[in-house]
Symmetry: C2
Subunit: 305 residues, 2 copies
């Protein structure tokens, strides 16, 4: 899927890594979301609808790329990436609901509540959320319980009120209050940055790298996350809904401050490019093994969806 | 709170244990839900509204009682109980929403969506869900990473589609299909039984008891969970909404099969009493250290709320 819509500026290595991760994540979702032959079937169908066959799988790719720096077993990295993707997909399901962003389309398909109803959407999101931690804490993800406990701890922090959910709350407030650049930056660091950050962190955790050794990866993640969000804001203003796969122009409509409304299109674009350069600079201590992370950084600001 | 409304049949030891656990859980919630001085404040207020100062705290009490069999550090047991209670409270918030059970009152107060709006209710539930796993995986809960990973794994299974969320999905289907006794039992084993079961399991995990040594506790939990649900169904039919703290008669109104509609009031009451006897019988290998679990089993069918 991802490879068909990928623009030509992606490096062959990135293209290959993206396609491989996307295929592996779909296969893993297919396995953990096997539909039971009982009255819970619709719940699993709803989770599969949201989880399988779509999305850039940027987060699992980041886990795999980070894990690639530390000789981590590929299966462990993919399962950790699957856990993060569960959190990402759950957040999209809840975010699309009428009481939140009220979106009808996602990844070119009807959103879960449109297809299955709101009650099922609540439960499908909740189920994927729980599943994320089950996967992270599962001995099949990593043999070392210390690694499993740390994966779970960091992922739950990134998902909860001090991370993504906290950022979503700020996003709700942004409809009423006009946030300045500092507050908008903080909002995005929580809303999208925390989950991107934990992807890099997970690679290091799987590689038994202690927190003190993760400084450069954290710096990379912080710059990457903001660049990603600025690119998202630019797509919201300039993107083609058919390619982006969801409605565009929604933030402006809601009167929310975005990087584009605060900086203007030109300065936002310059800022994103600068952040990418900064992100790449944080990787200078690594050689070719960090090329995938470098390519991802270039990709996030140049993508068209 | 709990002690004021407790009926006279509770033993003094149970009364004391319930009051102690309720006080400790409130204090821990107060600590982990400290309101930040930023635009996320409302999210934390909503979580506090749902989490603090109410409820029987039956699940943390069960964790503490189970842990009491194995000389577990009290702080560890309470933190594990807090994690389960986070899952329980999150499920109530989402369950009360208009697209689910559509309830206006809970524990004698307006439900979260009534007080804070639906979007905040979604996020408050999601936040408490993430927080549950953060607490379970936190080194402050237990020093041994194996224990933390196992606590998290079992709790996520109990919360997800193979546990509570799966039971809630079956509950949605129960509005359309008339389930028989076997399917209703399965529904309740998932919807309320899984989380009650993990409470007993957590005490054993904290006590380093391997899975093979948890058989009797699992059997106790299974019988207790069903007895609890039958008692709940009886309260739904016969209870006083003012004492129960939420609307009653809702299942009959929705045309859902319950233990009471399937068995009738008298047989349901007999069945609950038999299950409690069975639950207590599973504890025969323990002495006085299991008296609290015995008292809890008697309590769950005799409570009036």
């Amino acid at each position: 899927m991802a490879s068909e819509t990928m623009a030509s500026f992606t490096t062959p290595a990135l293209k290959e890594a993206m396609a491989e991760v996307a295929t592996a994540i779909d296969a893993l979702f297919d396995e953990v979301l096997a539909v039971p032959d009982d009255p819970r079937a619709i719940l699993y169908e709803a989770m599969r609808h949201a989880a399988i066959g779509g999305g850039k799988r940027l987060r699992p790719l980041l886990v795999a790329a980070s894990a690639g720096l530390f000789n981590v077993d590929r299966h462990s990295a993919l399962r950790a990436g699957l856990a993060v993707e569960c959190v990402h997909v759950y957040s999209l399901i809840h975010d699309d609901m009428p009481c939140m962003d009220d979106d009808d389309m996602r990844r070119g398909k009807p959103t879960v509540h449109k297809q299955f109803g709101e009650a099922v959407a609540v439960l499908a999101g909740d189920s994927l959320h729980a599943l994320a931690f089950e996967i992270a804490a599962d001995p099949r993800t990593h043999a070392d319980p210390f690694v499993r406990a740390e994966l779970t701890f960091e992922l739950s922090r990134a998902s909860g009120p001090a991370g993504m959910a906290g950022g979503q709350m700020m996003d709700l407030m942004a409809e009423e209050t006009r946030f300045d650049l500092a507050t908008t930056t903080r909002l995005q660091q929580l809303k999208t940055g925390a989950l991107i950050g934990v992807c890099l962190e997970m690679g290091a955790i799987l590689g038994h790298v202690p927190p003190a050794g993760r400084k450069m990866l954290r710096a990379y993640a912080r710059d990457l996350g903001l660049a990603f969000q600025i690119a998202d804001d630019l797509l919201d203003v300039e993107g083609d809904a058919a390619i982006v796969g969801k409605a565009t122009g929604k933030d402006a409509e809601a009167g929310k401050a975005t990087f584009v409304s605060l900086l203007g299109v030109e300065r936002a674009r310059t800022q994103a490019a600068m952040l990418v350069d900064q992100a790449v600079a944080h990787l200078s201590g690594w050689g070719a093994e960090a090329d995938l992370l470098r390519a991802i950084a270039r990709y996030v600001v140049e993508r068209d969806h």
